[in-house]
């Protein structure tokens, strides 16, 4: 990588460094370890990967959130999985935790696969809401990699908190540094492990970041009882700065109870 072309303005390089520093300081919440050096090294890493100078570590696409959810769900509970796909997670929960599971899925082929597994599945569009489901009728409501695919995510979240005593939400973090750099430097819609689709075939129509989600919980008066992330190949509790460093996140939330 050569030195940046600063044209006729010899101060441009310094100004760029200043802007990075400003950006780092405005990161919310302010992050101690988010230094300009760290930002620069991320950019360098990204550009070197793009140029093929270093190999990008390929993390196996493992459903880390399945393991986490399995740990969180209490045995024998009543579980609603919104956007349950082919029923893999619910099947696992039924087998290992003896839960009574109800899946909800729209895609007909996936619905058939649920039936094949013996997973109870209700074919419906989440955007139509969960009208008809009584308040607090499930111990857990799961939104596993689903929230970003619905037309009305806030409504779905509200319904989740209404029908469930607890909600478990996992999602790809659009604030992840690699996503940002793909767009900033690559100039194309990011395609990474957590977002494996092209712009034209993606089911992800409402992408958001960890900070976006935290802002929603604050606004909705929801309480986060547990937050985990996948960052640098490891699963760990959410830390400050993870809006940039975490690839995926999982949050356990409770609605504010008036009674």
């Amino acid at each position: 990588m050569g030195s940046p072309d600063t044209g006729n303005n010899p101060q441009a390089g310094d100004r760029f460094t200043e802007l990075l520093r400003l950006w780092a300081s405005r990161s919310l919440p302010p992050v101690e370890n988010l230094t300009v050096d760290r930002l620069v090294s991320l950019m360098e890493k990204y550009l070197a990967e793009q140029a093929g100078e270093i190999e990008r570590p390929r993390q196996p696409v493992k459903r880390w959130d399945h393991e986490e959810i399995e740990r969180i769900i209490t045995p024998g509970s009543l579980v609603l999985d919104l956007g349950c796909g082919n029923g893999e997670l619910l099947f696992r929960l039924v087998q290992s935790k003896g839960v009574r599971g109800q899946g909800v899925e729209l895609d007909p082929e996936k619905v058939f696969e649920c039936v094949e597994k013996g997973v109870s599945v209700f074919q419906t569009d989440l955007d139509e809401g969960l009208k008809g489901f009584p308040d607090d009728s499930f111990d857990f409501v799961i939104l596993e990699e689903t929230l970003q695919t619905v037309h009305q995510p806030v409504r779905v979240l509200a319904e989740m908190l209404r029908v469930g005593k607890q909600g478990v939400v996992s999602f790809p973090n659009f604030g992840y540094w690699r996503v940002r750099l793909e767009l900033a430097f690559g100039g194309r819609m990011p395609v990474i492990e957590s977002l494996p689709y092209q712009w034209y075939d993606t089911p992800n129509i409402h992408l958001f970041t960890i900070d976006d989600f935290l802002a929603w919980t604050a606004q909705a008066g929801a309480e986060i009882t547990e937050a985990r992330v996948l960052a640098e190949g490891k699963v760990r509790p959410l830390q400050a700065g993870d809006n940039l460093f975490a690839r995926e996140a999982l949050m356990v939330v409770r609605g504010k109870r008036t009674s």
Binding site: L78, V94, R100, G101, Q102, P108, V111, F112, C114, V115, E116, K117, G118, S120, V121, F122, Q123, T124, G132, F133, P134, S137
Partner: protein, 412 residues
């Protein structure tokens, strides 16, 4: 009783989506079948009916395919729809002798689903199907002799309900020594019987599969049935139901069937099969004969129905369909309360183009099961074949039925 290839493909008179039939020697066919008949209500004994009447004696015609296992826990009770009968699969060996010559041309009504290796696998399950009370296929109905008068019942036959049918089927299971069935399964009116089974006998049902049916018929459905009955009742040959031995209300029954057929199909299915094509001609004749292919089809369906169905039975069965209301009878107005009785695994299947038992109504039923705290499987199958989809979408329905039954066994 050879089945010729010509008989197997009446082409454009087949219902849209129907596949070629398999001969009795096909390895996936149950082969030749013979109806069985049993007296379940003796003369002098009373079988009280929901509507207040009573009937005796009562004979029931049924068929079975596959063997009951030693544990007696592999029986599947299959419930037929409006114009159906106990002959669900295979070729009726007694068709000629019983004067049911239409059965020499085609196998049972769900032959594509029942047989060795098929979704209702006769190597795993024993399938039992019986004709409903008030029908005209071997079970006591209005065309049978009323012992009080020595003449056919006609309209003196008491009004029957789906609840009555199910109680009679329970007697049949008692007779067969089956305490609990692995599954009950049916489409349309058969689906309502399956639901009634899950509600009325929660402890006797392991799995309930309700296809193209909901907790009650829609207003539009009531309206269609009203027109069908009007057509029969107003036929000059109806004679207050006492037409046995004479011609009977053939035109009225044919018209009822034609109307029925329109409701079983969808706009898309009709368009695809017939379009606006003329029947065997390139220019219209400009008269009131058969001009369009769709007219020919409906006329054929009407005609062939008259050959095999009794007009009085049509009146009684459509009434049973009208009266059925699981919300009222089991939930005192609340479907969720009704569904809280259920103890079986439930699968409810609707079809996107069905305008008789719409996906919306089927979904309501599924939601009520879910609300009652019981996991439920609800599938809305994309199909253009209308209400008939449950009969003709055998690939999709077959897959759902096979998998749902198999997973119920696996998971206990």
């Amino acid at each position: 009783m050879a089945v010729t290839s010509r008989d197997r493909g009446v082409k454009n008179n087949d219902r849209p989506g129907r596949k070629p039939v398999k001969p009795p020697e096909d390895p996936a066919s149950v082969g030749w079948t013979r109806a069985q008949r049993v007296r379940l209500v003796e003369t002098g004994e009373t079988f009280r009916l929901e509507a207040g009447g009573e009937v005796s004696p009562v004979d029931v015609e049924y068929e079975t395919y596959g063997e009951l296992n030693p544990a007696g826990d592999n029986a599947i009770l299959l419930l037929h729809a409006l114009s159906g009968d106990a002959h669900a699969a295979g070729w009726d060996a007694g068709a000629e002798a019983e004067g049911r010559k239409w059965r020499t041309r085609k196998p049972g009504w769900w032959d594509e689903m029942i047989g060795p290796g098929l979704p209702l696998d006769t190597r795993k399950y024993q399938i039992i199907c019986s004709n409903v009370l008030g029908s005209c296929y071997g079970t006591t109905g209005p065309d049978d002799i009323d012992p009080d008068s020595g003449k056919p019942y006609g309209l003196r036959f008491p009004v029957v309900t789906i609840g009555d049918w199910v109680r009679l089927q329970a007697r049949l299971l008692d007779h067969l020594g089956i305490d609990r069935v692995y599954a009950v399964l049916g489409g349309s009116l058969g689906g309502q019987q399956a639901l009634e089974w899950a509600l009325a006998y929660p402890d006797r049902v392991g799995n309930a599969l309700v296809l193209a049916a909901s907790a009650r018929l829609s207003t539009q459905g009531l309206a269609f049935n009203a027109v069908a009955r009007y057509s029969i009742l107003s036929d000059p040959h109806f004679n207050e139901g006492d037409y046995y031995g004479s011609g009977g209300p053939a035109e009225g029954l044919a018209a009822a069937r034609m109307l029925g057929h329109i409701t079983y199909l969808s706009e898309a299915a009709m368009h695809e099969k017939f379009g606006r094509r003329l029947q065997d001609k390139s220019e219209p004749d400009f008269n009131f004969g058969i001009e369009f292919e769709v007219e020919s089809y409906l006329a054929y369906q009407g005609r062939s129905f008259v050959e095999r169905f009794d007009a009085n039975a049509y009146l009684y069965i459509t009434r049973a369909m009208d009266y059925y209301d699981a919300v009222k009878s089991w939930g005192r107005g609340d479907l969720t309360r009704a569904c809280s009785r259920i103890k079986s695994r439930m699968m409810i299947v609707s079809f996107t183009s069905d305008w008789l038992y719409t996906p919306k109504e089927c979904r309501k039923l599924a939601l009520a099961v879910c609300r009652s705290g019981r996991p439920v499987t609800y599938v809305s199958v994309p199909s253009d074949y209308g209400h008939d989809s449950f009969l003709v979408e055998t690939e999709k329905v077959g897959r759902l039925v096979r998998d749902f039954l198999a997973s119920g066994r696996k998971n206990g």
